[in-house]
């Protein structure tokens, strides 16, 4: 990921916690704070934050999405670095804001938003965060992080440095898990068919944990794994990196 300049020690980093992480997986955001503080970054959480607007954007409600993007810009206006544990939200800020309105102030804030993995490797230049996770793990990259942010290498580099972790390749890793926001309910048969393939591929690795950088994918994949009573637990990359 191209970075405008390096991080300067002591600069505040704003944490963006997407709505669904705030409500369903706050432990993911807590883990991000733990890791960032461990590598010497001072984390701030602007309290007015809510959402990146992706659900509205993807569903075609662009004026509504623009209002949410506008709010995002206002909340994070003063921060040179904005980090989020959601690859799809980071991609929304980086690309979606500009598609809605290229000349808006929201369009320019996008360049300051990073997914957690890319921030560590590309901005901080950190590959080893001092983590230890003695388990067999396989990794799923969300489509937005994979294709729009090109963040796979960053995530794999970070996982590769975790002590005692065994990383097994996920078969057909590039295929979408099938969440797709409202697609998951509007086209639920296709969605669960795709999710099923993802689950089967994950289980075939014999991994104890399915790790991802995208909490939205995880809502869907985890939902399917729980329904199958699969012996596989989903975890966010930050939760793995937080373990010592």
């Amino acid at each position: 990921m191209t970075v405008s300049r390096g991080y300067r020690r002591g600069e505040p980093v704003a944490l963006f916690v997407p709505c669904f992480v705030d409500v369903f997986n706050p432990e993911v955001a807590r883990a991000v704070v733990t890791v960032l503080e461990r590598v010497g970054v001072s984390v701030e959480y602007p309290p007015g934050q809510t959402c990146c607007g992706q659900p509205a954007y993807n569903a075609g409600y662009w004026p509504l999405a623009a209002a949410i993007a506008q709010r995002f810009e206002q909340v994070f206006h003063d921060y040179p670095w904005i980090v989020t544990p959601s690859g799809s939200c980071a991609a929304m800020a980086r690309a979606g804001f500009a598609h809605i309105d290229p000349s808006s102030s929201a369009a320019s804030i996008g360049a300051r938003v990073y997914d957690f993995a890319s921030f560590l490797t590309d901005v901080l230049g950190v590959g080893d965060v001092g983590a230890r996770f003695p388990h067999r793990v396989t990794f799923h990259e969300g489509c937005h992080a994979r294709r729009e942010l090109r963040a796979v290498d960053a995530s794999l580099k970070l996982l590769g440095a975790v002590r005692d972790l065994t990383l097994v390749d996920l078969p057909m890793a590039e295929e979408c898990c099938g969440f797709g926001g409202s697609f998951s309910v509007s086209f639920d048969a296709l969605s669960t068919s795709m999710g099923d393939a993802k689950c089967v591929n994950a289980m075939s690795t014999g991994a104890e944990f399915l790790v991802s950088g995208d909490p939205s994918c995880m809502l869907h994949i985890d939902g399917m794994l729980r329904e199958r009573q699969a012996p596989l637990t989903t975890l966010h990359l930050a939760e793995v990196l937080a373990e010592t």
């Binding site: 916690v17 709505c19 705030d22 409500v23 369903f24 997986n25 706050p26 432990e27 955001a29 807590r30 959480y45 309290p47 007015g48 809510t50 959402c51 607007g53 659900p55 509205a56 954007y57 993807n58 569903a59 075609g60 409600y61 662009w62 509504l64 209002a67 949410i68 709010r71 598609h99 489509c143 937005h144 294709r147 729009e148 590039e174 295929e175 979408c176 099938g178 969440f179 797709g180 409202s182 697609f183 998951s184 309910v185 509007s186 086209f187 639920d188 048969a189 296709l190 969605s191 669960t192 068919s193 795709m194 999710g195 099923d196 809502l219 869907h220 985890d222 939902g223 399917m224 329904e227």
Partner: protein, 430 residues
């Protein structure tokens, strides 16, 4: 699909793939931006070579012109090379209604025609049928002793078709590239049926969409390196025909068809959809197409490109469905040899559909309004969180699972809201 994709990826490695894609995108952008000028140049040069041009605004006009040509030359049958645009024209139905027999000669199209079916993929029309299906079809329609051996089936089709080439009064092909500079056109294929369809009968009619015209012969260097690799993983198709005008004593027509393409052209945001070179790579990689199949799109063009062009070019009723049948994963965008941003085209179509009211009525619109209100005020957000906690708790226990809740729970557990949100945790941090 996966085998085609694997072959494509293997074949990409011996050429500067990304540079070629960018060049192809730029060449198409230039051609499409100057379509009027290039089409007129093509017509002039083609006519100089002895060809005859027919302009058709609609699919119906094009079909009517085609039938007219057949009648003028007393043709009782037409041999057809593979042509997706002929599906837009409903050409086979129109010919049959006029008492003229259409004979598909591409093996996949021949199979689909025998089955009374429609092509499900832009380059592999019978992809939805197994060789056992084909075996049974040939037994029932051709009286062949049952076999599912592909070679035996191909030879049977070949034998059946050979006499038909020689009897046909008109041969039809599509056009892959029409070259403005020279008034010539290119047709690529693997089976040889296109070449024979064009050469055997006394009359050759090429049907093309307006977007097929490119500026120079030299541009072919870029497109031909991309097309076969993207479609099947071949470095080049078995045949690359260059048609240089009618042979002595024969006639050659080119029917140039709009059929909704100017609607895509008129809007600078959708113009890019016309760059498509009909390789099929987008549908080969699409997880939705691979599961639903081509027929599910209800359109001549399936897959991601089909979802993009169908609403504006062919069928406005599709606008409320096709663009939404995607997770926007972007795999298609990565595969497209001419770098069409298919996911962006899809999400723009969703925007257009919502603002036109062809989707997002009633409950969805209200739910989206409520969502946005919750996301633009912290107080509303916190109220919404409380509501969501209650809704999930009820949803888990309730036997009645309406709409989206029921759809989610068919095969998935509901996510559980945490006892404490991150926001609440942070506010209590020392």
């Amino acid at each position: 699909m996966q085998r085609s994709l694997d072959h494509k990826h293997a074949a990409q490695t011996d050429v500067p793939w990304e540079a070629l894609r960018s060049q192809a995108h730029a060449l198409k952008a230039d051609a499409i931006a100057h379509l009027d000028e290039l089409l007129e140049q093509f017509e002039r040069r083609f006519v100089e070579r002895g060809g005859e041009v027919v302009w058709a605004r609609t699919a119906a006009e094009a079909a009517e012109a085609f039938v007219g040509i057949c009648r003028a030359h007393g043709a009782s049958s037409v041999v057809k090379g593979k042509s997706m645009v002929s599906e837009e024209l409903r050409l086979n139905e129109e010919l049959a209604a006029a008492g003229i027999e259409p004979v598909e000669t591409d093996l996949g199209e021949f199979i689909v025609q025998l089955a009374g079916d429609k092509p499900s993929h832009v380059i592999a029309p019978a992809a939805h049928l197994s060789r056992q299906d084909v075996g049974h079809l040939f037994t029932s329609k051709l009286g062949l002793e049952y076999t599912d051996d592909p070679r035996a089936l191909s030879l049977a089709a070949r034998a059946h078709l050979r006499a038909r080439y020689l009897r046909a009064g008109v041969g039809m092909t599509g056009v892959n590239f029409a070259i403005a500079e020279t008034g010539t056109f290119v047709v690529v294929e693997n089976e040889g049926n296109g070449g024979l369809s064009a050469a055997a009968p006394p009359v050759h009619v090429a049907v093309m969409g307006i977007e097929k015209v490119i500026r120079r012969t030299a541009d072919l260097n870029v497109f031909l390196q991309l097309l076969a690799r993207s479609g099947t993983g071949q470095k080049i198709t078995t045949y690359t025909h260059h048609f240089l005008g009618p042979e002595k004593g024969k006639r050659q027509y080119c029917i140039i068809v709009d059929a909704g393409r100017t609607a895509l052209l008129a809007d600078p945001e959708t113009r890019e959809a016309l760059y498509c070179i009909r390789c099929g790579a987008c549908m080969n990689v699409c997880p939705v197409y691979r599961r639903a199949g081509g027929a599910a799109y209800g359109s001549v063009y399936p897959g991601p490109i089909g979802a993009v062009v169908t609403p504006k070019m062919v069928d406005p009723a599709a606008a409320g469905v096709l663009p939404f049948a995607s997770t926007l994963c972007g795999a298609c965008k990565d595969e497209c040899p001419v770098k069409i941003d298919l996911p962006l085209q899809l999400v723009r179509l969703r925007r257009a559909s919502v603002s036109a009211g062809t989707s997002g009525r009633g409950l969805e619109r209200r739910a989206m309004g409520a969502f946005v209100r919750a996301m633009t005020s912290v107080r509303a957000y916190e109220r919404a969180v409380k509501w969501l906690r209650a809704a999930v708790a009820i949803g888990k226990r309730s036997p009645w699972k309406p709409g989206p809740l029921g759809a989610w729970m068919r095969g998935r557990a509901l996510p559980a809201p945490a006892r404490q949100t991150f926001r609440e945790w942070w506010s209590m941090r020392p």
